[in-house]
Amino acid sequence: MTRLANGGVIDRQRPLHFTFNGKRYQGYEGDTLASALMANDVLIVGRSFKYHRPRGILTCGPEEPNALVQLVSDGDQPNLRATEVPLREGLEARSVNCWPSAKFDLRAINSFLAPLFPAGFYYKTFMAGRWDFYSRFIRQAAGLGRSPKERDPGRYERVNHHTDVLVVGAGPTGVQAAKVLAESGRDVMVIDMQASPGGHLLFHSCQIDSQPGVEWVSQAAVELRDRKNVTWLQNTTATGYYDHNMVIAVEHEPAESWLRERLWHIRAKKVVIATGAVERPLIFPGNDRPGVMLADAVARYIQRFAAVPGKSVVIYTNNSTAYAHLETFKAAGIEIQGVLDLRESLSETELGLASKSKVPVVVNSRITGVQGRSAVKGVTYQDESGIKTLSCDLVCHSGGWNPLIHLYSHAGGRSRFDQESAAFVPGERAQGAYSIGGANGTFSLGQGLKEASEIANLLFGEKSDDSASSALAVPVTEGEVSYRIDEIWPEKGLKGKAFVDFQNDVTTADISLAVRENFRSIEHVKRYTTAGMAVDQGKIGNPNVIGLVSRELDQEQTSVGTTTFRPPFAPVSFGVIGGNERGLLIIPARTTPMTDWNIANGAAMDEAGANFRRPFFFPRAGESMEDAVAREATAVRTSCGIYDGTPLGTFELHGPDTAELLNRLYTNRFDNLPVGRGRFGLMLREDGRLFDDGVTFRVDETRYLMSCGTGAAGAVYAHIDRLLQTEWIDLKVYLVNVSAAWATMCVCGPMARKVLDKLESDIALDPSFRFLDFRDGTLEGIPVRLARVSYTGELSFEVNVARRSALKLWTILIDAGKEFGITPVGSETSGVLRIEKGFISPGHEGDNITNPFDAGMGWIVDMTKPDFIGKRSLLRDMRLGGERQHVVGLLPDDERAAVADGSALLPAQQELSRSGFQGHVTAACFSPTLKRTIALGLLKDGQSRHGEKVIISGLENSCPATVSAPVFYDPKGERMRG
C-alpha cells in the first residue's frame, strides 16, 4: 500500500472494497478507481489499442488515454476512464482491450510485429480482395471494451435550462466570473466537472486574498449557491457547444439516487469557458511505460488522494510547472533523483525551488530510453557530456499545458498558436463564447482572475465603473511560479517508440511516415495515422502531433493549423442521450379504444404507420397466418367481418372556401358534392405523383370531413396546412385534425346490414341509404355517424363514434353479429381484400413515378378544372407521352406460386438473362376467394399488354404469369353498392 498516513480528501474511516481484473483491493470513500489502484500499487491498468503494450495511469482527469475500464458491477459500462470513476463498495472493473489478461496479453505479439503495422496499415493491406474475409479477424482484435449484453439498469433523464450566463468550470477564474455576474443580477449557471469547486487549486497551493486558494473558492461557491439567481452543478461535464449558445452537459450521479446521469440542454445568452488546461506529455522513447506519468497528475494524486505512485522519481520537463511540485513530491516521501530539463537555462524562481528542495537539475538534457517493460527501473538520458543513466521507479514528465479550447472550438471559434506559451489558444470568437484563465492560455492565476472580472463586466456591455459588480475587487494572489516554457522537439529519426497518441498507439515514426508519404494537411495526417481519433480525442496529444508535423514539413506551427475539435468533449453514454425515451417509450405506440379488446382476442399485432400498432390477423388455436387470413377474408366475402379503422386520418375542414380548397387539392371536384354525400378523392403531389386517397363527406354547405391513409395522415395535414398558410392565404378555411376524436369501425360483408338491423337505431338502413351516403343518428342510444364506404369491395357500413363510446359499441356489434358469424379482421386480411378488388394503394402502387393514368385512375382526374395540385405536371406527362409503367394484374401460371412483393417483371423470353427489367410486383397474395395467387404490379406499357405472358422473377424463384386487368373480383363493383 502506498498511501500516505495523512492528507488528501479521502475518508480513512470509510474503507471501500473493490475488484479489479478479478483481484480484490481496498480503497477509501473519496477515491477514484484510479487513485485506489495507485494506492494499491497496481501499475498496469490496460493494454494499448494496436500493439497491446502494457499501460499504466498517465493522468488524473477525463483526458486519461490509458486507464480505460469496463465497469461490470453497475450495469455493464465499457470504456470508462478509471480517473473519473468514483470508488464505491463492491465496485468491479476490468481492463479493456486485453486478452486473456492485462498482465499477460497474447496479442502483445503485435508489438513484435510492429514494423508490419505502420501508419495506414489497414488502408494499404486490405485494399485487395475481399474485405469481409479480413474483417472477421480484425473485428475480433479491434475495439475497446465490450458492448453490454444486458439491458442498462441505469436510469436517466433530460432537462432543459435557460440562463443569462453559463459558466463552465468552478475553478478560481470561473468562480470569480460567476461572482461578478451574479452581483449584477444576471441568471448564472455554474457547472463543474469535479466533485467540489476549486479547479486546479484542489491540487496546488496558492493564496488568494490571503487565504488558501481552495478555501477562497469554496467560500465563494457557498455564498453563490445560496443566491436565487445562481444554479450550481458539480460532477457535471459540458460535452458540447452547439448552435445559438446551447451547451449540452452530463450531470453524473445527481443527488436524486435513482438517476445515474442527467442530460442538461442549457441555452445561455453568453457562455464563459473556464475549463482550465491539461498537461501535455513529452515525446521520448518509452514514454508510454507503466510508471511514466504526467508530473501534474502525480501531484494531484498526492494532494487529493494521498496516493503515491513511486518511491524514486526522475522528473523530465521543458517548463516551470514541475518545479512547483518538488516540495509536494518530497513531502510525500518520494526521493527525487533529479530534474532533466530540456531547456538551456532556468529562471531564478526555478533555480530557487530546485535548490530549496536540494534537487539536482541537468539542463540541456533529454531522455533517450526508459528501462523496464512493465515497471520502470530507470532512464537513460543524454546531456552535454554524453549518455548517462538514473535509477528510479517513476518518471514524471511535463511538456507544457494545453488550454481546453474544445467548447470554444465547438462554438465555431478559431484557435491560434501562441509562441510564448507554446499553446493553441482561443482566436477569433464565434457565438457568445468567452474563454478565461487557463482555457484562454492565461496560465497565471492573478492574470486569470483579472481576466475573469473584466470579461464578466464586459459580457452584457456594461462599463466596469457603473455596475455594482465593479465593487468586487480583483482578488490578490501569492505564491505562484510564473510559467515559462521552451518547446524543444525530439531529433528527427528518433530511435525507439515514442508515443504521441497513447490510445491509438501513434508514434513519432508514424507521423514521419505520413509526411514522407506526402500527407500535408494536418487533417489528413490525423486521419491517416488516427492520431487524436481515440476515445480521448487527442486532448493531451494533439499539439504534439501538430508540432511534429510542422517540424517534418519545416513550417511554423501556426501555418500547419490545428484540427477541429468536435463534440463530445468526453464520451457520452447512450443511456443519457436516450433519457426516458427507451423501451416502449422510444416511440410511444398509439392505441385505439379497441386495442385492448383486439389483444385479448388473440390479435397478432403489427406496426401500422403513424406509430399505430394494430391487428395483423386474429389466429385461432392451431391456425397459421395463411389459415387465419383465409378464414377472415372468406367471412367478409360470404357473411360478415368487422374491422377497426380508427388509425385512418380524419380532418375537418370548415369555412366558406372549403369547396374551392378541395377542388384544388383533389384531382376531382368537390364543389358539386351534395350535402350528406361522400366522394372518393385522389390527391397528387405537385409533381403529379400519387400522394393519398380517401373519402370526403360534405357535412353541410361549408363543412367537410376528410379521411386519409394512416401513414400519410401527417404528410397530408402538413400539405394542406402549408398551402393554407403560405400559398393560398386568401382562402377562408379552418383545418382541424380530428383523427384522435373519432373511432371508426367497419362492418363489412353481405350480412352487414342484417347485423346493424338488430340494433335499435333511428337510422333507416333501407336502399335509400345509398353507397357513399352518410347519416347521423344513434345505435343503441350511442350517437354515431354511419357512412356507406367500402375498403373491401363488399357491402359495408363505417360506424364513426366518439372514442369514449367506441368499445361499448364495438362489443354490441360483435354480439349482434354472432349469429351471422361476424369475424374480426386484421390489416393483412384487408390487404388481401384490397388486392382482390384492385383498389390502388398510393403506398404500394405509387412508386414516386406513378401518375393517376398509369394507375388506371384517369376516371377521377378532371383536367377541365382550372387548376389543382399536380395538374401542371400531369400536362407535361401527357404531352411527353412515351412508354410508362402501368398498374396491371398478374396471374401466375402456378396458381399456388409464392410471389414476393418487389419481384422483377421480365419479358417472357428473357427468363435467364435478368436484363430487360420491365417493372415489379407491388403487392401479391393468395386469394382465398379466387383460390389462386394474384398480384398487382407496375409493368412497362402494361395497359396494352393484358393477356400477355411475363416472368415474375424473385430472389428465390421465378414463374411465368399472365398479365390481366388489375381487378380480380367483382369488377363492376356491384357488391359494395348493393
Partner: protein, 86 residues
C-alpha cells in the same frame, strides 16, 4: 440546436419546428402559363446560398404557425421577418 423565433410563441428549440425550405419559391399563380423549364425549376431547385436565405418554418409541435425567417447558412444567425398585414 437552433433557437427559432416563432412570431406567436417566442424563441423555441429547433426540434419543435420543421424547416419547409426557401420562402421565395412561390407557387406560380397560373402554373399552365409556365414553361417546362420554369415549372421544373419551381418544383426541384433551391438556390441554397452560402449566406442569408429566407425560409419557411412550421411550428408543428407548437402553435402550428408557418412563418418566415432570414437565416445565415454560415453563421446560423437568424433575423425574424416582419409579417405583412393580411
Amino acid at each position: 440546436m437552433l433557437e427559432i423565433p416563432c412570431p406567436w410563441c417566442g424563441p423555441r428549440n429547433e426540434s419543435e419546428f420543421v424547416c419547409a425550405g426557401e420562402a421565395d419559391r412561390k407557387r406560380p399563380s397560373d402554373p399552365e402559363a409556365e414553361t417546362e423549364e420554369a415549372w421544373a425549376d419551381y418544383l426541384f431547385n433551391s438556390t441554397n446560398p452560402k449566406g442569408v436565405v429566407r425560409e419557411w418554418w412550421w411550428h408543428v409541435s407548437g402553435c402550428t404557425r408557418w412563418f418566415q425567417i432570414d437565416r445565415d447558412t454560415v453563421t446560423h444567425e437568424i433575423t425574424p421577418v416582419e409579417e405583412s398585414s393580411k
